[in-house]
Every structure is written in C-alpha cells, then in structure tokens.
Symmetry: C2
DNA sequence: GGAATGGTTAAGCATGGACTTGAGTATTGA
DNA sequence: TCAATACTCAAGTCCATGCTTAACCATTCC
C-alpha cells in the first residue's frame, strides 16, 4: 500500500512478537547480535533480519567494533508512535464528552442515528 | 508465536494502513458500513473484514439497527497500546539516565554489569 | 408479495514477510 | 599463517493476510 511513513514502519516493526522480545531484551541493556540470537529458537540470520528492521525504523541503534556488533535501544524511538496515539485519543475523548453531554441533556428527542454525517470537528 | 495478547491484536489491527484510515474517519464521527466503504477503492466485503478486525480488538464498536450497522470509535481502545509504550519508554529513559550518571561520575570503577554500560556514547 | 437496499459469509487467489540454507567476508587468537 | 569466531548476504520456501467474487440473509419500501 506504499505507506512509507514513520508510523507505518514502526508499526510494521512492532507487530512481530520476536522483535518486541528483542526490544524487551535490549531495554535491559545493550547486547551483541549473538547474545540476542541465543534465546530464540531461530537462526542467526533470522535474528539479524529482525535487527535490521528495528534499526531501519529507528527503534534501535547498533555499532560494530571489530567483528562484534553491539545493539542498544534508541531512546526516542517510540516517540512518533506515542504522539500518533495521543493525537488520536484526544478526538476520541472529545467525542465521548459530546456523547456525555447528549446523554446528560434533560429532555429532547435523541439525535437521529441515521444522519451522522453532520460534521462535528471544531 | 501464539502471542494472542491484547497488544498483539491491536498492533496487527493498526499495521494495516486502510484500517488506520478507517479509524481516522471514525474519529470524526460514527459512520455506517457503506459510508466507510465508499471512499476506499475496494469492495464492501473487504472493508467489512477490516471493520471486524478493528472491532475484535476493541478499537471500534458497532451496532446494527434495522439493516444498517453503525460503527464508532471505542474511546479507550488505544489505551493498552499507550500503556505498553510508556512501560517501555521508562526503562529506556532510565537507562539513558544511568548512562548520564556514569558519564557524570568524577572517577570510580564502573559497576561492572556485564561490560555493557561502560561503552561511552553521548 | 416482490424488488431494492444494506450487510454478511465463504472460498479462492496473490502478495508480503518470516525463516532457512548455504556461501561469503572480516577480525581475532594461537 | 591458519582456524575459529562473529557477522553478512542472497536465494528460496512457506504461511498469514488482504482482497475479490459470488452467493446468501434481513429489512424496508412500493
């Protein structure tokens, strides 16, 4: 679908359970590629691909010294997703307030469910 | 695999751009299935499947009156994901703080965690 | 009652992505 | 210098999921 936004790449990275586990592990401190690969019942190469995905979207960072690559969490990596969520929670809660208002209204004919289309963005 | 947690289902729902667009649309107010299907260049059935996915993980809610099904945002739907993110951001930031402390320390042998923490990195 | 409207389900195709295999490169240590 | 270590890359397999088609309810309107 060609949605190459930051949010899109972060969500695609997080949707895979293995990658979330790698993030958990790294949030407890840096680790090398082989240290990360060890606990998972999968090949080195597979884990490496996950790491590349995580690094490509800015969730982790890695540095190679000699023949050892050390990975660590990129602290601000989840910020874009956190922002995306708060942006979307606020309208939702405004809508809730609206509903609350309507329900709190003393007496009046309930607004017809059929025509919702009257826009309500302020 | 088999990670059927709430987080997992929410992420799987959000990773699809079409479903995120549906959420955007619904955050501006409720809509029927056909109203939701209209702007997308895809079949009714496809949109319906997306709606079922969104409802299954608690991001939207729907109600059928007569032959018309009306969908709306479930206000607290994103909360589990928001929580997940804050839980993971705090350790990451603590780690940053920790690093900051160590770097700020005048002189002393670092508390040998596993060699990880002493990599200086601004 | 019968047609139109709005939605629902099931089956099947097609694509993307996770994972493997296998070969290759660079670094380290004896 | 040679072998072991640590990682990298490319190609291929396989399965989950998005989308379509096609048939099928249920409700509303004439």
């Amino acid at each position: 679908m060609l949605n190459h936004s930051k949010i899109d790449s972060i969500l695609r990275a997080l949707v895979e359970p293995t990658r979330r586990q790698i993030l958990e592990r790294l949030s407890r401190g840096p680790a090398t590629v082989s240290q990360l690969a060890e606990p998972f019942g999968m090949t080195f190469a597979a884990v490496l691909q996950h790491l590349q995905t995580l690094e490509a979207c800015g969730l982790i960072r890695s540095e190679k010294i000699g023949r050892v690559r050390t990975c660590r969490i990129e602290p601000g990596g989840l910020a874009p997703l956190a922002d995306w969520i708060t942006e979307r929670r606020i309208p939702a809660e405004r809508h809730l307030d609206r509903l609350g208002q309507i329900l709190a209204e003393p007496d009046q004919s309930p607004p017809k469910v059929q025509d919702q289309e009257k826009d309500e963005q302020t």
